[in-house]
Amino acid sequence: MTPRLVVLTSLLVSTVSHGADVILAGSASLDYRLVSGAAPPTNPSPLGINGMTFELAQKVVVDVGHGVSFTVKACGGCHGLEVDQGFGELHVRRFFNVRAGRLNVPVGEFTVRHDPTNFSTPSKPLPFAMGDMLQYGRSAFNLGIVPAPAVDNGVEVFGSLGLGKRVSLDYTVSLIKGLAGDNDLDFARSRVWVDNNRTPAVAARVVLTGPDWSFGASGTAGAYDAKDSLWYAIAGVEAYARLGIVTLRAEALARRTDLDATATGYPFQLIDAWFLKAGWYAQADVQLHRLVTLVLRSDGLHRFGMPLPDSELTTASAGVQRQTVAAFVRANDFVAFKADYELWTFTGTTFPLRHVGRVALVLGY
């Protein structure tokens, strides 16, 4: 054991022996996708089997009392082992609480449910997609709007204001390191622990919620390049409603990202040095049986503006739409199967239509 590990373990053991309450949780998911047509686009695979990925997460929550808790969640997937959450939380009043450390950035509702055990489809909605998206590479759409999990270092205040018996207005406001990159965002680099520039970013989410419904808005903005000169801004709206066996969710997000005017190789003359990406999804989960949920989803992503140098996109307006039918079947409360069919169509690009089938096995405790 390294000295650091010894210190950590003994800290944990001593908190446990002082009566702190420890909750363990974890999940593992194995996902396989089959794409129709010639030369299907590939995705990164930690198994080296094209189309197959896995994700693993283990979490420890220690409630030490007096409203103080600590959460550490490590996860592994296409980007190696990462710290998805690592924060201390202090509950002061219902309307004012503090969390500091490595956080999940409060942008969009899906980011809350990014763990594979917490969403019903095998793939993430396109505004939050990463490598599981077709044509995800930098030379094409360069991922979604705010790839989930959105993880960052910082501090946030959050709380809930009661408006009557059944309605509340919840908020989170965060000061974070921000996303990183040069000439468009680079999500792998955004997760590095040290900031690449001197401008912190801000993020916020506000949700008006009743027992079976909610409406919300969220956003984040910051400088992303090393010289603090290129900016991004993301804004989104969200809605949720549950009507008996049907759960409806919809979100729309957009990101404005500055382009580097000094870069060369753009396909045409750069006039507006920024581009806009808009993404959305609408999803209905119909619980047919205690163990079986049918999911219908329509989502999309559109990019307006100058393609990046060397991009396969050649027009100033290119998009992807997807229609999904999925089944979420639980064998019991710890094992679930997900399967779907997805129809991918592209506009403003030469990418052909694709049929995609996915299956996933998800374990969680």
Binding site: A25, D63, N97, V112, R205, D333
Partner: protein, 207 residues
């Protein structure tokens, strides 16, 4: 005769069937929960042992509803009872085998010296119903309930979790909801059993 048994079990109110599926098939399949034949008081003791493993899932009232269902709905009673005696002769043998201690298990069969749980009063039943239903709806918004019940195994931990969850942005869990949930949790954990100082089954809980 099998047809009669099937008809009988189908004749049980569907809501009890659902209750059974929701609560007894949470940790294991029917193969486990239907592998023993017991009298009603024995079922009550066994289900009380199951309740100790997940007190937020199986309420005190459920112990009674479900033990009646095991006896009257599923007819899982000892072989000498007429209803099982009329099944095929070889299944009689199987029933006897299942009823004795030869079946591999890590839960000791309840013995007559185990305390018999006390039936909750109407107020307690109403609170349990409200609390359980509230938990079902509020706690399934961002994740399935699967990971919830198994983790809420002490009062303190459960209270910490519901407070933490209620403060997640957009949880829809108001202070009023928290009060009901807290009262529900207290009613399921705190009321002492008739004579069991030490919760039954704890020692054998898989942890």
């Amino acid at each position: 005769m099998l047809a009669l048994l099937v008809t009988l079990s189908l004749a049980a109110p569907p809501s009890t069937r659902l209750l059974y599926e929701q609560k007894c098939l949470y940790c294991h399949s029917e193969e486990v929960s239907e592998r023993v034949r017991l009298t009603e008081p024995q079922w009550r003791r066994l289900i009380e042992q199951m309740r100790q493993r997940a007190p937020v899932l199986i309420t005190r009232g459920d112990v009674f509803t479900l033990s009646r269902y095991m006896v009257n709905g599923l007819k899982l009673v000892p072989a000498q009872k007429p209803v099982v005696a009329v099944t095929k002769p070889d299944s009689l043998g199987a029933d006897l085998r299942l009823a004795d201690a030869g079946v591999p298990r890590d839960v000791p069969l309840p013995t007559p010296i185990d305390p018999l749980p006390e039936e909750p009063n109407a107020d307690e039943l109403a609170l349990a119903e409200e609390g359980f239903a509230l938990m079902q709806t509020r706690c399934s918004r961002c994740h399935t309930l699967g990971r919830v019940y198994g983790k809420l195994d002490t009062l303190e931990r459960s209270l910490n979790v519901i407070e933490r969850m209620s403060l997640k942005t957009g949880s829809g869990i108001t202070e009023d909801d928290l009060r009901v949930l807290e009262a529900y949790l207290r009613s399921q954990f705190e009321r002492p059993l008739q004579s069991a100082a030490e919760p039954v089954g704890r020692a054998t809980s898989p942890r």
